[in-house]
Point group: C2
Chain length 348, copies 2
């Protein structure tokens, strides 16, 4: 896998102080989310993420009794100024020693589809290093969707800016771009974290499926992996375009054109903002109406961890175009529009 | 997998109050060892196992800060009288409320190759139920080696004696009898433990490889699974016999015939007892000499958790005939004999 990483980054692994021993194979990248968290986090520690962010990870963090502090994301992903201000505030409050992880889904994020802007990448690593005073703050780069790119160039990883292999844990997966059933992820870890993480993994499962690793090794070597990634990219790109067209058709003029959605350049999700005041939560009228129409969405508020100083938007929705067929996507958006029309827009 | 279980036990799943929803698929049975332990154990709790017992599980228990109390095993596995006496003692000491699990590798145990005698099985389940006063004591049945049977009939599981699906968690794996690389295990859990275990598993890895499950489903349906199990059984049986013959040849008359070993009816291990006083630990002269001769063994003392009242034998060794070829097995035993001869026997 290091060869792939070298190819993506256009840099030799040894120039980033990396060798094969710095790679861990896991049951999907999801397993690494747990393992690294268990290795690094004690109760009361602080994890910084984006708002919104991958809610399965935020949910998992509850197990460890840590606090989540979120930096608002914009169309370029996590704001560097926002992160800097948060770190300053935590420092002033004496809480900097509790900050252990900065978690970023930096390619076609779940839930927004947004990628971290290229110019922000070195600055975030630098910030983490500058704030690593009495202990290291690890940047946890979740690149699960990196290979599911439909438009634009590939961006350098955060890991690219960590030439000593000290600050960034880069995790990704073969499952999303190749075959979800593989459940095989891989991570480049700072060398000193390898031992603790592998000890925990040893307790959990004593190693991931060797068969799947051999299989992946072969399909990568013979080129069929890349062929499948290309096919999946084309299929998902089409689905994305169908979803965006359906949104335009059904919601373009809804409530006087007050809906917004992000056109993702990759990944599996469209982040969809309904008019202010139109609630989307599990107990909302919209959600009930959607279920009645036979369509499901993920309420956007799931992707926010409530905390002082953070206003959680209640009018957002994560739509997924991964599994559904183009026909189902069209039908689903149309049903959602019927649900929205039934509920109607109330003043914010 | 329930159909397999029905076939093994000669009883309908519904007569044991079991349905498909009571089965959990994991990354090998190893993962269930962790998950069920995490679900049930708090610091200071007590887990009962055999002496000797599977040392990877005992090691894993250290994470949870629990106490291990061991019941001496004999040629019929865990002694019911020993278990009963231990439970009585714990009750008298007021510690019964802390006992959460009784862990038994009841088919061709790692490390001894011994199986739990048929007549002990219902009695152990009954004991656990009788001692479940203010809370349930779960019998954790690790049947990983069940299908690797070379002689004798298949024995009914402990689960067979739990018709209400309340007391016994039965875990086994497709990896050992079919293909280690599969890393796919399955467990029948008491229904109310399913939710907690699946929540933890969701955090750990969000589900096991679907691909491997489909693959296993197919090979089981078309009979090639059973064919492979038969082939592996024959191959391992041959290796076992080669190892036993080599032990007879090299150790039959060693130190006046004071070596003992168990002929396992299944599994992957031979438990080998050297003359009393001949230490086998990592720092022993025998271990050093063995490494110098180019052969490795697992010191038997690893399989014991030190505790008051337990005498840990220092002269035992676990030999494995799983991976090595018959040629390597012969050579390995011969090297071990050279190492033992170099060290010599000292008075006990």
């Amino acid at each position: 896998v290091l060869a792939r990483f070298e190819q993506w980054e256009g840099v030799a692994a040894r120039d980033l102080n990396l060798g094969p021993d710095d790679v861990v194979i896991t049951t999907g990248s999801q397993q690494m989310l747990y393992l690294l968290s268990e290795a690094l986090l004690d109760e009361g520690d602080i994890v910084i993420n984006g708002a919104p962010s991958y809610f399965v990870y935020s949910g998992l963090l509850e197990v460890f009794g840590v606090q989540v502090r979120s930096v608002v994301e914009d169309e370029g992903g996590m704001s560097v100024d926002g992160l800097s201000a948060l770190l300053e505030r935590l420092k002033a409050e004496g809480d900097l020693p509790r900050v252990k992880l900065i978690y970023i889904v930096d390619y076609f994020s779940n839930p927004t589809g947004v990628s971290l802007a290229a110019d922000r990448r070195p600055r975030i690593v630098e910030l983490a290093e500058r704030c690593s005073i009495d202990h290291r703050i690890i940047v946890f780069e979740d690149a699960a969707y990196r290979e599911l790119r439909y438009d634009g160039p590939d961006l350098p990883s955060l890991k690219r800016y960590d030439p000593k292999n000290r600050t960034v844990a880069f995790t990704t997966t073969f499952s999303k771009p190749f075959s979800p059933g593989m459940k095989t992820g891989w991570t480049i870890l700072p060398g000193d974290l390898l031992g603790p993480v592998l000890r925990i993994k040893g307790n959990h499962d004593f190693g991931s499926s060797n068969f799947n690793q051999h299989l992946l090794d072969r399909v990568i070597a013979d080129g069929s992996y890349d062929g499948q990634v290309t096919r999946l990219r084309e299929a998902y790109r089409t689905k994305r375009d169908v979803m965006l067209a359906a949104l335009e058709q059904h919601f373009g003029r809804f409530a006087g054109g007050r809906c917004r959605w992000i056109k993702p350049a990759g990944g599996l999700y469209v982040w969809f903002e309904l008019p202010a005041g139109m609630q989307t939560g599990l107990k909302s009228r919209l959600f009930t109406a959607a279920v009645e129409e036979g369509v499901l969405y993920t309420p956007g508020e799931f992707a926010y961890t409530p905390q002082p100083g953070l206003t959680v938007p209640r009018n957002c929705v994560r739509l997924s175009f991964g599994v559904a067929s183009t026909q189902e996507i069209r039908e689903g958006v149309s049903r959602l529009a019927r649900a929205a029309a039934r509920v109607g827009v109330h003043p914010a």
